[in-house]
Amino acid sequence: MDNIVEIQCEPPVRVENELCSRFRCTKSQCAACAAVCPVPRAVRFVEQGVEITGACIACDACASACPNGAIQPAESDRRLAERMRERVRPPAGFRIGCERAEGPADFVVPCLSRLTEAVLLEPIRCGAERVELLAPDCSGCQLERAAPQWGMVLNLARALCESAGFDADRIVRTDAPRRKREMTRIPLSAPGSRRAMFRAFAKWTAKTAAAAMPDAAPEQTAAEAFRAIVQRHPENPKRSHLLEVLQSLPGAEAQPTVVPAAGKPFAHLEVTPGCAGCNVCETLCPVGALRRRGENGTFALDFDPALCTGCRVCEVACFHKAVRVRETVDLSVLFERQSATLISATRRTCRACHETFLGDASEFCPSCLVSGDRRDAIARRFFLGGNRGDWS
Amino acid sequence: MIGHKEMQAVAAGRAKTYAVLSALYSVPPSEDLTAMIRAGALVEEGASSLGAAAKDLTAAFRDAVLEDRPNNELTAEHTRLFVLPSGVVPHESFYLDENKRVGGRVTVEVRRYYQDAAAQMTSACLELPDHMGVELEFMKFLCEIEEQFWKEPNPDGLQRCLDFQHGFLTEHLLRWHRLLCERVIAETTADVYRAVARLTVEFLEAERAFVPALTEGIRSEWRTTCES
């Protein structure tokens, strides 16, 4: 019985592959989730992107860390924000506390690393004057590895405040003493967790029952091909939530706020003339921040900086090194939602493959020329003098 | 209230439409058929694009075949389009076989389908089973059987027959008729065949919605109708 439970055990958080940078582009070095995960072996990088194993304790720090919103916590951000809203009493300040923090808190979360920028801004949206994070010293906490995450979120939220024309100090951290009694609700060994076990057991019995039913239709297990999946650009729930919150911040007036892009889930792109129009950046962008536009024989690449999470998939994927992430980003774009055209060039159709390409070099696309002639050229180069020395 | 009689008539009507289309794809228009169409045999019921297409075809026939001119031009055009190796290949395998093997895998599948549906190709059939004309005639065959089942009435038989119709439409005809008709429209010089192609598209598109709806209707309501 134990064994079955072990096998069937499923992690409490779900990874939405389509949004995961690692899933979409194997070259992506994104490790946001793994970096904050407090449990060893709970996040695993696999061929299919990221896998959350049964070791997960459902602290949801990874969900907060993932800029693309690929990891969906058991309770969604919106739901969390809703619960919070119920407790906000404007214009009074709002205190959010960690379970281990001693002191009066309006709202208690198991760990502050669960919070996102949008959630932090929620009380302000509801009219609260200030948001305070009641945080004890994280060192020694079992979830210590997740601690930097909430610090980062706090900084982001403050920066966003500034860009909204508010005082950054409307969101602050307040040191709080640690509670004497450890009250961490989350057990650290997942397989033994009752929640997980019950869930797994329920699933297991359901499956057994299904197998026993005579008329059950055979399960359609054929997974959708990757190449079909990446044609879709699903909504980033985290970002749409944030944009929603920012849009409705009372009294917000967007201010140009240029911050370094490194380490922030915001970025602005540039495309150099080396662009071959191959469309890989658009295809692989997890959040759909890039959109190709082709009309009247031109190729244009539109970019919505408000959606960009700075995951750098486009940058690492581009073979021609034509896409670059700018070093700084202006946060006010989140309020204005203006899309930029990164490149616009004449588009031609290749005579051989009927694919489009940029440039006016010939009737054939560079790629057809390359693959067709290279075999020839390389063989030729070897056999016609010159390179004979290369023969090993 | 719709009765079996009516449905029987519908099935017969569909069979006839299939028969006309099948004949137009299979052989050059015979004199009888020409005369019939020119006389206005194709009548729409309810204004729609299907009706317009039928009107176009009738008009095209009236224009193409004048009293003093025999069918020669249409014969030549039919031969050019559907018999000689032209840009229009009227075989499903040309469009759906990944290797464009006319007579290959797809043809074998269609033939299998006929066998499963207990349809025997006669020795008069001079085409591959996946020829547009033969596929349309196969649908005509099923519609005729459907008609008989309405008459009896036989709910189980009807259900099976409609399943075969639906299966064949979705697995075969509806997957390639547009590809063929687009080619015909692009390639032909005769208005008649342009109109035939348009009518085919319109009719089969109507079938795409109708057959599943009919199947669903019977599944849910047949019992009560029988009792009433």
Binding site: C25, A225, V230, C278, R374, A379, R380 | -
Partner: protein, 208 residues
């Protein structure tokens, strides 16, 4: 009793198949006797059902020298070089693929493109110095020589090897082939490209 194979004995092929653990299957192409008939090209086409215009293997005809006066001994030569995928030890295509659709299999060293993953961006074609990956314009994906992996896994030889009328293509494990070549003292090489150290595995022998 059967198959005349002047270069590679069948036992060596059997040994290659039987070898356990990580290995590198590859081809040995004897250019000295290749007549450029393109039977391999067509065998590949038929076996892998490639569309017209997509060939996993091609025979390149290379002409050298200059001949203008028939009274003098002609200084001209033609070499035929069959060019399949080199199944490199460090495939440039794999490195270039943004979605990890290209893998080099540990168990036999065959470099394969996963058709489900490939998004048809053609980065592999840009990256491969040998022009091995081919764009299938109908399916909009890249394809290339698989060393007939579906046959090899069943213990059969790749189609091009089976069909070669002049018997100049041989299949085997790289080490087996290297040993045989050393025994025969054949002058062998692999087409390596300056600036792209991909460690191609396909071996060629050339006229002495």
């Amino acid at each position: 009793m059967s198959e005349y194979s002047p270069v590679i004995p069948r036992e060596a092929v059997d040994r290659s198949f039987a070898k356990q653990g990580p290995k590198q299957y590859t081809l040995w192409v004897d250019i000295e006797h290749c007549i450029g008939c393109n039977a391999c090209t067509m065998a590949c086409k038929a076996e892998n059902n490639t569309p017209i215009g997509v060939d996993y293997n091609r025979v390149i005809e290379i002409e050298e020298g200059d001949f203008r006066d028939p009274r003098k001994a002609p200084n001209v030569g033609v070499t035929f070089v069959p060019m399949p995928c080199m199944h490199c030890g460090r495939p440039a295509c794999q490195a270039a693929c943004p979605v990890g659709a290209i893998t080099k299999r540990k168990q036999d060293g065959i470099v394969l493109i996963n058709k489900d993953k490939c998004i048809g961006c053609r980065y592999c074609a840009w990256a491969c110095p040998y022009g091995a990956p081919q764009f299938n314009a109908e399916a909009k994906i890249m394809e290339k020589c698989t060393l007939c992996v579906h046959r090899v896994e069943k213990g059969q030889l790749p189609a091009c090897v089976n069909t070669c009328p002049a018997k100049v293509r041989f299949f085997g494990e790289l080490n087996e082939i290297t040993v045989l070549m050393r025994e025969k003292r054949a002058r062998s090489f692999s087409i390596s490209v300056a600036g792209a150290d991909t460690k191609p595995s396909v071996q060629y022998t050339i006229p002495r």
